[in-house]
Amino acid sequence: MKYLFIISFLFTACYSITAQNAVFKTNIQLMELEELKAEIFESEKEYKIAFIFDQFCLASRDIFPDLDKLYKNSTQKNFDLFVVTNNKEKKQQDLEDHLFYYGYEEPFYIIKDKPLLGFFKKTILNICDSCDYKEMGYSDFIVFNENNEVLVQTNYNQTKEEHISILKKYMQ
């Protein structure tokens, strides 16, 4: 019994040291819009969430810590999250720094063929042709089911609390 306790203690101590020293890695992928659409639609998860993000937008910065908690605390992992950023390819390092600073591990996507104008219209219509892109802003998101049907499309009239409460439902 004494040895069992010692082994268990050592295991816990080693695990805690490993966890503390774990090297943090960001997850940024560069892809074209079509590739992103394929990535979302080919996911076999129950829910697919496409979240529109801007590193310098206050609404995005405000909601993301809560989203991050939901992401890190999810136990069932019944969803895939796609954080679509409007960063240019050459600004990848800025995004990298932002994610490193806050410890965000979520998958972020930079669009290679990001249009000079009309990022919202082109990006949103590409992944959801039935969505009203004019109603959406940074920190809005679309939830698809496993058949790629739209379950929810948020809009900029909704509050942060409303967004979080919707995310809670799907990020289990």
Binding site: Q20, N21, V23, F24, Q93, E96, D97, F100, Y101, G103
Partner: protein
């Protein structure tokens, strides 16, 4: 002379206006309680306080090195590079290439400051023979105010990102310097009263 010291001290203290807050002396228990209450991710071995009032706290208070929340960055030679606040922290702490390279002129070295601090629990002098590429002195205090939640977020973000940098392999040292008034100074009852009266009168104004 003491009044002059206190004047410097009052000027140097952080300005997060709150009328209700009453200053008092702190000890390792009050620091631990604050850390536990607000779930600060601080590791015990990184926490330091000023050694005494006259020879340690006074030089700090007469300098620009007693502001909070603030980080003071020193290079491998112990030269002061720059201070980081919550506006510049994201850029500089996530990417050390963005930290100023040229030391500031006429500023005391890291050794000068670290000779004035002790570990908050053991009271042992700061001693670290290892050479680091950067040393980050993170100033913090136990002020309770409307801004406490915001301050806790800042302290946590700063410490966590520096721990991530360490885990990534950056050769850095982190000193969490608590800048509160300390029981450990063992001031006479007269001096304690004098210090508190002056500090708290100033904050009420």
């Amino acid at each position: 002379m003491k009044k002059i010291i206190l004047l410097f001290y009052l000027i140097a203290l952080p300005i997060f206006a709150q009328e209700e807050y009453t200053y008092n002396f702190k000890n390792s228990d009050s620091l631990d309680a604050y850390i536990e209450r607000y779930e600060l991710p601080f590791q015990e071995e990184d926490i330091y306080i000023t050694k005494d009032f006259e020879n340690s706290f006074r030089p700090y208070s007469e300098s620009k090195f007693l502001r909070s929340p603030r980080i003071y960055v020193f290079n491998a030679e112990g030269q002061f590079l720059e201070s980081i606040n919550n506006i510049t922290s994201e850029k500089k702490l996530a990417n050390f290439k963005k930290i100023r390279k040229r030391p500031e002129k006429n500023e005391p070295s890291l050794d000068f400051w670290t000779s004035k601090i002790v570990h908050y629990k053991t009271g042992n002098d700061y001693e670290d023979p290892k050479n680091y590429d950067y040393t980050f002195v993170v100033n913090w205090d136990l002020i309770e105010s409307e801004q406490t939640e915001q301050l806790i977020e800042i302290y946590s973000e700063w410490y966590n990102v520096l721990l991530r940098q360490k885990a990534k392999g950056e050769n850095i040292q982190i000193i969490l310097l608590n800048i509160d008034l300390q029981e450990r100074w063992e001031l006479s009852p007269y001096m304690r009263k004098f210090v508190l009266e002056n500090v708290n009168r100033s904050w009420g104004e």
